[in-house]
Structures are given as C-alpha cells and as structure tokens.
C-alpha cells in the first residue's frame, strides 16, 4: 500500500475521538432503522432520497436500453416474420376467447348487479419496464421505471401477461420498487379455482416455486389445479391467475399436506409488466358493500337508492 506521510494528527484536541463519532453515528443509524422499520415514518424522506440516487440507477440501466434498441433495429427480417406469425396466431386464440368473454362479462355484470357488490374492475393499465439493476441477489425485488409521476401507489398490483407478478412496495418519483410473489417475505391470498378452497401461497425465494403451508391433509387439491387470487387482503383484485399446483404430498401423520405450486408469471425473465388501477379500489369496495347492507336493513327516508 502506497501511503503516506503518517497521520500527523495529534491524539488530543482534534475534534471528537473515533469512539465518540462512532457512537454518535451508530446511534443515528439505529434511530433511522427504527423509524424506517417501525411505522414507515420516513416514507417521504425515502421517496425524496430515492429520487436523488435515481441518476445512478438510470446510468446503469441506460447501456442495456441502448443494446435492446439496437437489437430491435437490427432484428433480422426472418425473425420479425416469425414473430409476426407467432403473434397473429396468439391474437386469433385471444380473439376467440374474447368472444366468449363478452358473454361472460355481461353475465357477470348482471350477477354483480344482483349482489350489489362490484369487486374492483380494472379501469386503467400501464406498462412498466423492469430496470436492469441488481438489487440484493437473495431477495426477489425489481425496480420499475415508473413512479409517483405516473400515479403509481404503494400496494398496487403488478401483473405480467400470464398472471400475478407482485406488488409495488415503494414509490419514488421516477422509479418504484416491486416485490415478487416468490420473495420469501410475501404471501398471496389465493383460492383454488376448481373447488373455491381458500388459502395462502407463500414465496420460497425460488422463482419457480410457491408453497401452500396451510392446506390440511384431507383438503381437495391435486396437481394441475389453478390458483387464482381470492381478493382477500385487499391488495390483489380477485380472480387473477397466480400459479398452478405441481406437488401435493399427503402424510397421514401430519396435519398439513405439503403443497407446492409454480407461478404462472415469468418471474425470472419478464421485462415488461402491467400495472393496473382499479376503480373503486377493492378495499373501499368492501366498506361500501358493508354500508349498503346496513342501509338495506334500515332504509333512510329521502335517500334515493341506486
């Protein structure tokens, strides 16, 4: 190591000692951690600070954007034609499903009208791209290139073309962070589509695996079953596909069966994601429905019922 004229600082009388400064800064960091972790007191500060570091993230992301653009520009004719044919085939299938969907939507609307409870219906969608930034490799989080300036909000559901991908956890001005449903810290309220059995799918830290730890040994569930969001918890809208059951192991001695599922969204190689706004938000809905029931019991005079 090429140092130095040695540190000629006198030991006494040059500001506070190393120990004192360590204690002060250490206390500061512990204080910040407590504030940030406990009640999310630092939401505003963090949002501001993440805007400050955004240029760094943009700088890292930029070359990859450029490479992508160049690749698209130079894409071979043959590849484009193949992609085009592929997409047309997909569109035909989608159109076919859409025809059925129109009838279903109408039926659904009537049923909902009967129940007087409309779960959130998507009114606005936006595409966000995942920025090519590595966050902690042990955790499943991504940075999206849209933020508060595009009306994103905390807790917003993030989908890809095939299913639920995750939810927005932090919103900055230009970028926001989303946590994937496969992160070991998240749990997604789900329903087995075939039977209506409700449960919770917990992330495992593996991109291809969700675990359902609270399914009893005698529950009706088998490999191949589709899991959809149940809408409980108020984050995800009900009825969106989440995963497909892959493994069901029953042990007569254990209370719970070992159930694993594979997420339908492409957790490890999705690039473009769909952000969805719901009107009215699902949580407000439950409230509104509750009030409606109450007002049904005791109709107030003079208030027109819708």
């Amino acid at each position: 190591m090429a140092t130095l004229h040695s540190d000629s600082r006198p030991i006494i009388g040059r500001g506070p000692s190393v120990l004192a400064r360590t204690i002060v800064l250490g206390a500061l960091s512990i204080g910040i951690m407590a504030l940030d972790h406990r009640q999310n007191y630092l939401e505003v500060a963090r949002s501001f600070l993440s805007t400050v570091v955004y240029p760094l993230q943009a700088v890292v992301d930029l070359p990859f954007q450029g490479v992508d653009g160049l690749r698209n520009y130079l894409a071979g004719r043959e590849r484009l034609r193949r992609e085009n044919a592929d997409m047309q085939a997909k569109l035909r299938v989608a159109n076919l499903q859409l025809q059925r969907f129109a009838a279903l939507a109408e039926e659904n609307r009537q049923l909902r009208a009967v129940r007087e409870a409309s779960a959130g219906i998507a009114t606005k969608t936006a595409i966000a791209e995942i920025m090519r930034i590595d966050l902690d490799p042990g955790r499943h989080r991504v940075l999206l290139n849209k933020g508060a300036s595009d009306d994103l909000y905390k807790g917003q559901a993030v989908l890809d073309a095939d299913g639920i991908f995750g939810q927005v956890t932090r919103v900055g001005k230009f970028a926001s962070e989303a946590i994937l449903i496969t992160d070991a810290e998240t749990a997604t309220p789900i329903r087995v589509n075939r039977t209506g059995l409700r449960s919770i799918a917990v992330g495992t830290g593996d991109f291809n695996k969700l675990s359902l730890p609270f399914i009893t040994g005698d529950a009706d569930i088998k490999p191949g079953d589709l899991l959809v969001t149940s809408g409980l918890g108020g984050i995800f809208p009900p009825g969106y596909p989440v995963a497909q059951v892959t493994v069901v192991k029953r042990d007569a001695a254990a209370t719970f069966a070992v159930v694993e599922a594979k997420p339908l969204a492409h957790m490890d190689h999705a690039r473009e994601l769909l952000l969805v706004w719901f009107e009215p938000p699902p949580t407000m809905d439950i409230d509104a429905a509750g009030q409606k029931i109450r007002s049904d019991k005791k109709p107030l005079p003079g208030k027109p019922r819708t």
Partner: protein
Amino acid sequence: MMSNGSTGSLRIALSAIVGLLLAIVPLPHWLEVARPDFLLLFVVYWSLTAPRVAGLAFAWLCGFGIDLLHGVVLGQHALMFLLVGAITHRWQLQLRIFPVWQQAAWVLLMLLVYQFGVFWIDGIISQPVTTWERWLPVFSGALLWPSLVAVLDTWNRRRR
C-alpha cells in the same frame, strides 16, 4: 501522498460513485451472488490512505447510499460501514505497515464482520437470506483486495 485535500476528496468522491454503480450493475447470476462489496473495499482503502479526508462520516454516507440503492431498511448498511470504518480508523497505523497479504486477511475478517452484521440486522427485522452463497462476497472481496490496492495506488501516483 495525498498532497492536498481537494484533489484527494475529488478522487474519493469519484471512487465512491463508481463503488455505488458497481453495487447495482447487473451481472449473470453466478457472478452476482459473489459480487464483492467494492464500495466497502474503497472505504477501507481510503480510510487507510487518506484518513483525514475519508472519515467516519464518509463511511456512513457510503453505507447509506447502499441502503437507498438496494431499497432495504435505511441505516442497515450505514451502520455496518460505520463499524468497519471505525475499526479501520482505530488500527490504521498498524494496518498501514502490514504486508498486503496480511492486509487481505484482515480485510477478510472485516468483510465477515460486515456480512454478519447485515445478516443479523436482517434477522431482527425480517427474513434473513440463509443460503451459503451469501458469504461468497466475503471471500471474493478478500481475494480482490491486493489487486484493488495495486490499481488504486497506481491511480493515486499518476494523478498526483
């Protein structure tokens, strides 16, 4: 060797920015899990080379930058950077005369302290990552130390 403060602090700030960028540059997965903590190595290097410019506040700020970029609890990495910086400052006079391999061994120890601290705080506030791979950066960082010192020393001498 830090002839005057201002060019020194410019160089230090520049290396801190590079360190922050290196912390988030996308790498293939097998390399990503072993990504050395470049910024921490820089902090240790500057704490030994220019202790009066790169003080504890510098170490703390670098850690805080990592917290922001990685979106974890604010203060987590700041605290561990501070700890490593403080230990380095406390023993800088001895460390500076160590041969480089001995320094590398000591850096290994520091990285271990750092990773363990981060792991511990993770455990207190949320789910820690428990795979063995999380300890890889400790070894990759220590292995990198000699070449990092060589590169930074050359840079320092040339641009004096």
